[in-house]
Amino acid sequence: MKIRIKFRKYGVMKFIGHLDIMRYFQKALKRAGIPVSYTEGFSPHMIMSFASPLGVGLTSDGEYLDFEMAEGLSSIQGVERLNAVMTEGIEILSFLRISEEKSQNAMSLVAAADYEVCFCPGKEPGIKSKGEECSAPSWKEAFSDFLDQPEIRVTKKSKKAERELDIRPFIYEARVDGETIFLRLSAGSVTNIKPELVLEAFFLYLGQSMEPFSLRIHRKELYAAQEGGEARTFVSLESLGSLF
C-alpha cells in the first residue's frame, strides 16, 4: 500500500539538506520497523519520494514523504513508531494511506505552498537606508503597494539560464500579519516560486538590495490543485490521504 507521511522540520534540523533528510528517513523507517517495500535487483533500495525539497535553513510544518509498504500496521501505530525513533527537530504529524495511482505522487501533485517569512533583526527593508528613502512610512505599507502592481518582473536564475518572469500571477495570496509576511506561492515542477524571489523583488521595488541572511522562512503547508467549477481550489496533500 502507498503511504504518505506529513512531518515537521524545526530547530537544528533546518541545517540538514534534502539529500541527507532522505538518508535520514531511509534509516529512520528501518529503525521504526516500518515494512517499507524495496526495488528489485542487486542493490535494492526503498521506493520513496518527497513532495518538494526544502532548502537548507528553512523550517516547515508541512513536509511530505510518500513510500510503499506492506500491510500490517495502522496510521496511529505508524506515527507512534516513527516518532519514537526521531531525533529532535523532526516530528511525524500523520501517516496516511493514499491512492496507488502514479499521478497521485506527492511530487507530481504539488501546486502551491504557504510560507511565513520574517526579517532577521535589523535586516528589514528601509531601516538601514542607504541614501534613498522609500516613500511609505514602513515596509508593511510598502509591501501592499508592492503587491498592488499589475506585474512584478524578476530575473529567475536556474542552473542553466536566466529568464525574465512576471511572478505576480504566481503569488496566490500575500498579507502582512504583525511582523510576519504570509505568502501562498506557486510550487511544484511547473513554476516553483521561492519566497526569497518575492522578497528580493520587494527590496528591488524599494530601490534596495537584499543582503544575504536577511530572512527567516517557514513553510506551512503544501497543496495540490483541484480544478473543478470556475476556480481552482487548493487542498493540502495531507487531506488526500486517509486514516487506516
Partner: protein, 629 residues
C-alpha cells in the same frame, strides 16, 4: 531546544553544517548539573573521518554508561570554519551541549596517525587551552591522549597531561574514579597527575625526565619521583566477551566514511609481519564470540537503520568462527536488504565463495596485499603470502568472474634491491597472464590491475624499529623504477600504477620514531600554518621545512639514521607485552631472510603470553610462552 554555538549565518555559509550540530541519532544528552565529570572525546580530523572510528564509539558508550559522567564529542573544524572561528574568536565547542571544550574536565584525543598532530594543536588552540601542559591551570581540562600513536607519545609529550597506553575499557574507570575522589578531597591538578601516574597504563610525561648523550641519542629516561613507575604497562582486555559494545552507535546525518554497522570480531593479529605495528602492539590475538556478534548485528541494525554491516579486524580470515558468522549474516541481514562488506579477507576459495554471494562481481575488485614484489623480500618482512598463493587466488577469482585486482606494495623496505622493486610490476604481469590464459569467450573484457605503492615507515615496537628509513629522493627513484618496469611488461595496458607522496611519508617517519625534542618543531609548523597534513590539498611542505630549520632539528636523525641495538629508544619505557628480545630476534631473522611461523603454527614466546589470554592460550594445556623477556 538547544541553542547552537554557531550562528545561522555561519552555519549557512560553511560547508556541511551538519558536522557541527550534534543531535545525531543516539547522541547522548545529559543534564550537566547532574554529572560529576564532563569528558570531551576528540578525533583530530574532519567529522566524516572521526565519526567513522570505532574506538571513539566504544569509549563514548562506555563513559556514558556511567551516571556520573557525560561524554561528548568534538572533531577538527574544517578549514572554512577554522578560519571563521579564529577571526571571530569563537571557542571550540563540544557537539552535544555546544558548550566550550575549555569548560570540560577532560579532553581526550585519539591519535590514529602521526599526520594529525598539527590538528591536535589546532584543537587545543581553538579551545583556548594552553598548548603546553606545563602552562595549564586548575581551570583547564586535563588533556589525555590515546590510540596507536600513544605507543610513542614522546613527540607530543609537552602538549598532553597524560597518555593512556592500550585499550580504553580497562583503566578508564579507575582513572575517572580517581579524578572524582581527588577533587572531592580538594586535591589539585598536580595531585591528580601523581595519582594517575600510578594507575596501570597511564603515562604522565611531565613526571619523567629525559637526558641525552652528545650524539643526540637518549642517555636516560627516568621518573622524577620514586613513587612513579619506571615502566608503563599497556592495558588490554583479556576477554572481549566481557566488555560492553556500542550496540547503539551514533548515526550521522551526513555520509561518513564508515556508514555501516561495524562488528569488531577480534583484536590483534597472529601473523607477525615485521613492518606492522598493529600486529605487535595488539598482541595477543583475542576473538569475540560469534554468537555475541550475531546478537550485536541484529540489535545494531535495528537501532541504526544502517543498510550495511561490516567486520572489523586486522585479518578477518584468521577469525576462527568466520564461516558461522558469515553464514548468519548472509542469511539474516541479506534478507532485509542489508549489504555485507568483508574487508581484510585473504583471497582463497572460501572468501571468493562468500564474496560472490555478497557483492556484485562485475563492480567489485579484489585486493591483494603482497607488500613486496619478490619472495625474498616477502621473507624479509615475514609476509606469509607466497607467489603461488597470489597466483592461485587470482586465477580462482578470474574463473569466478572478477576482472579487477588491486595490489598493494611497499617501497623502501629494509634490504630492498632493484630486483625486488622490479619484481612488483613483474608480479602484476604474472597475474595478468593468468587472466589472459582464460579462453577469450569466457573472460569479460580486459583485466584491470591497479598497483599501489606506499613508502615504508619504520614504526616503534616492530622488528624494523631499528631500521634506517629511505630518503625522499630514493623513494621517488624507486617509484620511477616501478613505473618504468611496468611499461616494459607485455600486458602493461591492463595495469595502472599509483604511488604515495614521499614528503608526507618522510614526515610521518620523523614523528613515528621521534622524541620529545620534536615538540618544538611541531609547534613551529603549526604556527607556520601547517594543518590537516594528511590531506594532500592542505599539506604545506614549506611550513614544515621552515619549522625544522628554525628549531635546528635535523629530520634525518629520526629517519635515515640507523639505530644500534643498544640505543635507548624513546618508547622503551612502555611495556607492550612483546619483548625487546623478541623484536631483536625478529630483526636478525629478517636480515637472514628467515620467516617466522604465526602464533597458531608455533608460538614464538614473544612476551605477550604473560597476559594469559587469546591465542596464547588456544589449544594449549599450559602457557609455554612466558618468561622470554
Amino acid at each position: 531546544m538547544k541553542s547552537l554555538a554557531l550562528s545561522d549565518e555561519i552555519l549557512l555559509t560553511i560547508e556541511k553544517p551538519a558536522r557541527y550540530l550534534g543531535n545525531e541519532t543516539h547522541a547522548v544528552m545529559k543534564n550537566k548539573e547532574e554529572v560529576a565529570i564532563r569528558f570531551c572525546m576528540c578525533f583530530p580530523d574532519v567529522y566524516e573521518i572521526g565519526m567513522s572510528h570505532l574506538g571513539i564509539q566504544i569509549l563514548y558508550d562506555l563513559f556514558n554508561r556511567r551516571e556520573d559522567t557525560w561524554c561528548e564529542r568534538v572533531y577538527s573544524p574544517w578549514v572554512d570554519l577554522d578560519k571563521l572561528m579564529r577571526e571571530q574568536g569563537i571557542p571550540l565547542f563540544a557537539l552535544e551541549s555546544q558548550d566550550p571544550v575549555r569548560d570540560f574536565d577532560f579532553l581526550g584525543i585519539t591519535l590514529q596517525y602521526e599526520m594529525c598532530y598539527t590538528n591536535v594543536l589546532q584543537i587545543l588552540h581553538l579551545a583556548g587551552i594552553p598548548l603546553h601542559a606545563a602552562r595549564r591551570t586548575e581551570a583547564d581540562p586535563l588533556v589525555i591522549g590515546g590510540g596507536p600513536c600513544a605507543y610513542n607519545p614522546e613527540p607530543l609529550a609537552d602538549f598532553f597531561d597524560l597518555f593512556y597506553i592500550g585499550e580504553g575499557e580497562t583503566s578508564y574507570p579507575a582513572l575517572l574514579d580517581a579524578y572524582k575522589s581527588n577533587r572531592e578531597q580538594g586535591g589539585s591538578r598536580e595531585d591528580f597527575l601523581k595519582i594517575a601516574a600510578r594507575i596501570p597504563g597511564i603515562y604522565v610525561p611531565s613526571l619523567y625526565e629525559v637526558t641525552y648523550k652528545e650524539d643526540g641519542t637518549i642517555a636516560s629516561f627516568t621518573p622524577r619521583d620514586p613513587q612513579i613507575p619506571a615502566r608503563v604497562e599497556k592495558q588490554l582486555v583479556t576477554d572481549l566477551n566481557q566488555v560492553s559494545y556500542p550496540t547503539k552507535p551514533l548515526v550521522p546525518f551526513i555520509k561518513v566514511t564508515q556508514d555501516r554497522v561495524v562488528l569488531e570480531i577480534q583484536r590483534g593479529c597472529i601473523r607477525g609481519c615485521r613492518f606492522c605495528q598493529a600486529g605487535m602492539i595488539y598482541r595477543p590475538t583475542r576473538e569475540r564470540d560469534a554468537g555475541k556478534l550475531m546478537d550485536y548485528s541484529r540489535e545494531m541494525l535495528a537501532a541504526t537503520g544502517h543498510e550495511e554491516v561490516s567486520l572489523s579486524s586486522l585479518s578477518s580470515s584468521d577469525y576462527s568462527q568466520l564461516p558461522q558468522l558469515v553464514d548468519f549474516l548472509i542469511e539474516t541481514a541479506g534478507q532485509e536488504g542489508v549489504n555485507i562488506s568483508l574487508p581484510s579477507l585473504r583471497i582463497d576459495a572460501f572468501s571468493l565463495d562468500v564474496m560472490s554471494k555478497v557483492q556484485d562481481i562485475k563492480k567489485s575488485s579484489l585486493t591483494f596485499a603482497p607488500e613486496a614484489g619478490t619472495q625474498r623480500m616477502r621473507n624479509v618482512i615475514n609476509k606469509g603470502l607466497t607467489e603461488e598463493d597470489i597466483l592461485k587466488g587470482a586465477a580462482l577469482a578470474f574463473a569466478g568472474g572478477w576482472n579487477k585486482v588491486k595490489l598493494y606494495f611497499m617501497l623502501g623496505l629494509p634490504t630492498e634491491t632493484e630486483e625486488d622493486i622490479r619484481g612488483i610490476p613483474r608480479l602484476a604481469e604474472k597475474i595478468a597472464k593468468r587472466y589472459y590464459e582464460i579462453p577469450k569467450e569466457e573472460r569479460n573484457g580486459k583485466c584491470q590491475i591497479t598497483i599501489s605503492t606506499s613508502f615504508f615507515v619504520p614504526k616503534p615496537f616492530t622488528p624494523f624499529q631499528w631500521a634506517s628509513m629511505d630518503t625522499q629522493a630514493s623513494f621517488l627513484k624507486k617509484a620511477h623504477m616501478v613505473n618504468q618496469e611496468m611499461k616494459e611488461q607485455l600486458n602493461k595496458k591492463s595495469m595502472r600504477y599509483n604511488w604515495h607522496e614521499a614528503e608526507v611519508s618522510v614526515l610521518e617517519g620523523v614523528f613515528a620514531r621521534g622524541d620529545r625534542r620534536l615538540c618544538k618543531v611541531l609547534e613551529k609548523a603549526y604556527e607556520n600554518g601547517c594543518l590537516y597534513d594528511s590531506w594532500s590539498e592542505c599539506f604545506y611542505l614549506e611550513g614544515w621545512q621552515k619549522a625544522f630549520a628554525e628549531t635546528g632539528i635535523d629530520p634525518a636523525f629520526y629517519t635515515s639514521r640507523a639505530r644500534s641495538r643498544e640505543e635507548i629508544l624513546p618508547w622503551d619505557f612502555l611495556d607492550v607485552g612483546v619483548s625487546k628480545a623478541f623484536l631483536l630476534k625478529e630483526w636478525d631473522k629478517s636480515q637472514e631472510e628467515q620467516v617466522t611461523p604465526n602464533c597458531r603454527q608455533a608460538c614464538q614466546g614473544c612476551g605477550a603470553g604473560k597476559y594469559r589470554t587469546g591465542v596464547c592460550k588456544e589449544n594449549r594445556e599450559e602457557i609455554s610462552c612466558e618468561n622470554t623477556n
